[in-house]
Symmetry: C2
């Protein structure tokens, strides 16, 4: 999973968390993605909403296109205008955005503004994302997970994500 | 949720995704967290596993302590030695790590090394995280979510996370 005891750079790390970070680790990038999930598609709308400098926005949008997270499509010929849409690869980042939103609501919300709420139209209720097991449907908790292979120095050799607290 | 049309910095953005990024947005930080979830607790183990320079590791660990994600505890008096353990606030980042891992397995895995698999001891099966509705238990899909309030310029005023594709 990760290089043992020798210095490595992120791109060499055989770890999916590291590789995901390579793609979305930049702050502007993930805020652009968040806006894309809200339906923003046009350069001027991203720029106006985020208050980001044009050169930075151009760079981050191009990187997202290069990484096949966004697709650039022409929607007008004269003058030529383009919009940016989430690809399937991009759309599958929704769980990452949703879990970050939930954590931030609980632990990093200043309380001065009500957080965004999400309504699940399937059941009609205000919803929170819950991360569950693909096999049994129960919520995934750290104490019930084992990782294999586990090659982290100092990590529990059994791959246990939680270790018994002794204090 | 976010400042409209005026430049803002991240710390002023009234958005839980932005605030979560403020806490975990740095790449080393999230790799330290990943190792913490695998049971790594000691400075030398983090350093050896990640191949990170000591001054960077010291800085990131201290920031995680300042943000109450990790707790620093003395486990030996002579010589004084400390370990770093996830707080409740830190443990609740597990869903973010799990969803990043799943996305990376599918979309950012080089294929040269088998990805880490997770076994759910509750049911005994190899599991994948699925993000589901806290109310009805169905998987959350973009087309079934509406956000309120939605104040993103260029976003769909209904708060629809997915818009009908017309092409």
């Amino acid at each position: 999973m990760i290089g043992l005891m020798t210095p490595v750079d992120f791109s060499e790390m055989e770890c999916s968390v590291a590789r995901t970070l390579e793609t979305i680790g930049d702050r502007w990038t993930i805020l652009i993605l968040r806006d894309a999930f809200y339906g923003v598609r046009r350069f001027e709308d991203f720029r106006g909403d985020l208050g980001v400098a044009s050169n930075i926005l151009t760079d981050r949008l191009q990187k997202l296109v290069d990484r096949e997270i966004l697709e650039k499509r022409q929607y007008e010929e004269r003058p030529p205008r383009y919009e940016y849409r989430l690809t399937e690869k991009g759309q599958e980042l929704l769980p990452v955005i949703l879990t970050m939103m939930k954590w931030g609501d609980r632990w990093a919300n200043s309380g001065s503004t009500p957080p965004v709420t999400l309504t699940h139209t399937t059941c009609g209720h205000v919803t929170e994302p819950v991360v569950t097991c693909s096999q049994c449907g129960e919520e995934l908790r750290r104490r019930d997970l084992r990782a294999h292979p586990i090659t982290v120095r100092g990590g529990n050799p059994s791959g246990e994500l939680a270790r018994a607290e002794t204090s």
